[in-house]
Amino acid sequence: MDETGAYESIPYRMKLSQGSTYDSFESLFRENWESVNRLLRRMIIDPAEAEDLALETFYRLYKNHVLVREGFNTRGWLYKVATNLALQSIRSFKRRQHYELHAGKYALEETPETEPAELFAKNEEQRLAGMALAQMNPHRAELLVLRHSGLTYKDIAQALELSPTSIGPLLLRAEREFEKCYRALAKEEET
């Protein structure tokens, strides 16, 4: 039996926080693809790059299927890996160059012609936010992305293997670091 068959025959008894149960990798993929792809589309401006990273995220889960067990937080795990891949991508020097060069391009391509200035400004904020996240302590950046993508404290705690009561203080620390990095980058660009 090939690996695919072996994997897909594993009875999925893991529960998501929302109570879903998977009985095959395909059903897991289909239920989570859109949200993971959407998260990456928000972080990575190039849609093709975002989709590649989303596929890589699922491939990593596929390769590490031994980790999948009762109570495994699939969505949290996927979000965590996707976030790390996106941050790595932004951090990479070449990626950052690409990010900077193409931020405006993709934004304008996807925007009604009547609002290019507004969109450019919004996109500029997004670019700076992405760079600030990439500059931060990776664990804090990860926490911020997971929270601001809509994950609950319980989901985040499971994904990052933290206590749910520690999320509030850690989040606050992460937000302060983010603000500091963001302001420094904005100031740097002004000068």
């Binding site: 590649d52 904020e125 937000e175």
Partner: protein, 398 residues
């Protein structure tokens, strides 16, 4: 709860994540309410900057189901290719590769020169390469080589081999004339392109004796007890002589591989997002080597051994037998390629027929062109998608 809430609790309260005790306190504590309001301003500023993380994305061009189905299809393609490529690379990066040339030669790279069969009193066959054939192999069927069985096989091979002449490190030279002198054969290079590097790798020779009992035990251990090695392989003495080779690089290329380099390259590839296909996209390497020579007992049934080898990779007995019957094992270099991750075609090149193997990939396209002419095996390979350029170089050789 009489104590005031700490900042972490106040932060959690803004997300509706405060526990019931905390909430009860907050409802009645004006001091904490004021601190919460101050914190809210700070948190909202950050939330505003990160609002893109929860903003809607325009996916109207595709319906949800078709986008997901398309992604699932792409995932399966990528999964298959990555798995195969990974197995292919692992196989050829393992300690096995130290003797890969010999393994390939023994099992698949075989040629008998007509008229020279009766060497050493009709006891030995002498083999040389005259042509190239490709066999698509499902390398995912060789995962047993990852574990203890792979190590045992490597160990058995190591123990069975006696190196007579070990290959040295590649030596860079300035001209093809110098390369010809050092390598001992006439090195060909295109006249109108300046190489970025010419290097010569000295030859090697070794001999080994097959221990059938141990080899069969390993097949059994790998769960392939159905593959039975012929009795006559036991104690067969095989010697291999690999001549010096020359590689000529064009464009920006990695340094010539030596031991450990492949594994480091694999590690680099898996830990970074910059693939070799991007880093060395203009790299083309022309390599040439006179045919290696293998001498083996005339009683050794190479086709039978090749069939066993193919079945070991996961081919059915029928598929292996069919392929084996189409190949002249006495004169053909058989190149295994990943079944789903690469394609190949026969192409006219340098006045003979060659084989062009391509690995199509958005991220790391690769190609290799093989042909044999006048007793020399030529390959042109690259990590980009310059197969056409490779054909031009091959056809411009003097």
């Amino acid at each position: 709860m009489n104590e005031h809430l700490n900042e972490g609790q106040l932060r959690a309260s803004l997300d509706g994540e405060l526990d019931s005790d905390g909430l009860t306190h907050l409802e009645t504590c004006q001091h904490c309410q004021m601190r919460q309001a101050a914190l809210r301003t700070q948190v909202e500023q950050v939330a505003s900057k990160l609002s893109f993380l929860s903003s809607p994305i325009d996916t109207s061009s595709l319906s949800k189901s078709s986008a997901t189905s398309s992604a699932w299809h792409r995932f399966n393609q990528q999964k298959l290719i990555q798995k195969e490529t990974s197995m292919f690379r692992k196989l050829f990066a393992s300690p096995l590769i130290r003797y890969a040339v010999s393994i390939v030669l023994i099992l698949t790279v075989i040629l008998a020169i007509p008229g020279t069969r009766a060497l050493a009193g009709e006891l030995l066959n002498l083999f040389r390469v005259q042509r190239v054939a490709v066999v698509p192999v499902d390398f995912t069927g060789m995962q047993q080589l990852n574990g203890a069985v792979g190590q045992d096989i490597s160990q058995l091979i190591s123990n069975s081999i006696t190196m007579k002449n070990e290959p040295g490190d590649p030596v860079n030279v300035a001209t093809t004339d110098e390369a010809s002198q050092l390598a001992g054969f006439n090195v060909r290079a295109p006249q109108d392109i300046t190489p970025s590097r010419i290097s010569v790798m000295s030859g090697a020779s070794f001999a080994f004796t097959i221990d059938r009992a141990k080899a069969q035990a390993l097949l059994d251990e790998a769960g392939r007890g159905d593959l039975v090695l012929p009795e006559e392989v036991d104690g067969a003495d095989v010697s291999v002589n690999i001549p010096s080779s020359v590689s000529i690089a064009f464009g920006t290329c990695p340094e010539p591989s030596n031991e450990g380099e492949v594994e480091r390259e694999m590690e680099r590839e898996t830990t970074t997002s910059g693939s070799p296909g991007r880093v060395y996209k203009d790299c083309i390497i022309l390599a040439q080597i006179p045919s290696p020579e293998v001498s083996a007992p005339a009683s050794l049934d190479i086709a039978k051994l090749a069939q066993i080898g193919l079945e070991f990779t996961g081919m059915t007995a029928e598929e292996a037998a069919e392929f084996t019957s189409t190949v002249d094992w006495t004169s053909t270099l058989v190149v295994p390629i990943p079944k789903n991750a690469a394609s190949y075609e026969q192409v006219p090149v340098d006045g003979v027929m060659g084989t062009l193997i391509e690995r199509p990939s958005d991220d790391a396209p690769q190609f290799a062109l093989f042909w044999v002419k006048d007793g020399i095996i030529y390959t042109i390979g690259g990590l980009g998608s310059n197969a056409q350029k490779a054909l031009e170089i091959a056809n411009s050789l003097p």
